[in-house]
Symmetry: C2
Subunit: 198 residues, 2 copies
């Protein structure tokens, strides 16, 4: 008899199920018992794959945070001007939301529920991300590629729009992924670039 | 003996104390006992002024939501072009954050903790606010005052930046209120306005 083709590993199925529940009902509002029911396992079998609810949240928060850091890594070494780095970061951010909306949403809304030690590490990553992003924006302002506005105002106006994309972008709005990426990039970049830039 | 000049009413002091605690520790993380301690009253006396924690959250969420609705009321009857209405709404929003940061922050982060009935009413107000704001933005796009982008993308790019202002704007950033208002307005309006607009 042919060996059955391996589908998604059980652990990944449990994590996917958990993220859907966390997004719909919040991390605090989801129980492991409910999760087991959703993925069609009894709790004891599920604990063979996953130690705790904490473990799932940690995994998703750090996975997403590391994706953002990887975006920075990919542009920082680049010889592109600062404004082009920011344009690339905007695109990468929009694409991550499109690809992995549920995980981005859970990380965004539930990171405060991380256990104390992990929360400290997560905040440090977030801080590092923001200061590296600020350095790119600040340089672009200094080089005259962006308007002479306060760097923090530019950074957080940009980041707030990108971060909350996951909360409002829904299939029922009928906005295609390319249109979303183009319009978000236009609005944010045209806000940053000095008037007259083509 | 002269009557002592009346200072802020007790009830307002309790609400102010509660908002500070909700902001620092979250709504769920704050107890009425702790609140009583903070405002220097015993719990029984405090309950003379305030029925419950729910009542405080309701009051602040609807107070802030009604301020936003009042902003719309004040521009909708106006004969200004749509783009100018949006500019005014941006200014009013920034000023509300500057004036009443703690209340704006609590409403923003904790509205999901409203009791079921109040939550439904709050969501309806929020929905109404967003669709009225969308109508103004959509009209400005149609009139060519704003770029030809998707109305929802324009609306939520704008609203996300404005909503999350309270989360990052802190005195230690050393950004004056006028600078904040000017830079936020520039970034958002220049993003929306067609290139070439002076």
């Amino acid at each position: 008899m042919a060996v059955k083709k391996t589908s998604k590993p059980k652990r990944d199925l449990i994590i996917d199920g958990a993220l859907k529940l966390f997004r719909a009902k919040g991390y605090d509002g989801t129980s492991m018992r409910e999760l087991a029911g959703t993925v069609g396992m009894d709790a004891a079998s599920m604990y063979y794959y996953i130690r705790s609810k904490d473990e799932i949240l940690e995994e998703v928060c750090f996975r997403i945070a590391n994706r953002y850091i990887a975006h920075l890594d990919s542009v920082e070494d680049d010889s592109l001007p600062g404004a082009e780095k920011v344009r690339t970061l905007i695109s990468l951010h929009v694409r991550l939301v499109l690809e992995d909306a549920t995980a981005v949403s859970v990380a965004n809304h539930e990171w405060r529920c991380l256990t104390k030690k992990k929360l400290t590490a997560y905040k440090a990553l977030r801080q590092k991300y923001e200061s590296r992003f600020a350095a790119i924006v600040g340089q672009a302002i200094q080089d005259g590629e962006f308007r002479a506005v306060n760097t923090d105002v530019a950074l957080y106006t940009l980041l707030s729009s990108l971060r909350w994309l996951e909360a409002w972008y829904k299939p029922e709005r009928n906005i295609g992924p390319e249109d979303l990426e183009r319009d978000v990039t236009t609005l944010l970049m045209r806000g940053l670039e000095p008037t007259g830039t083509v």
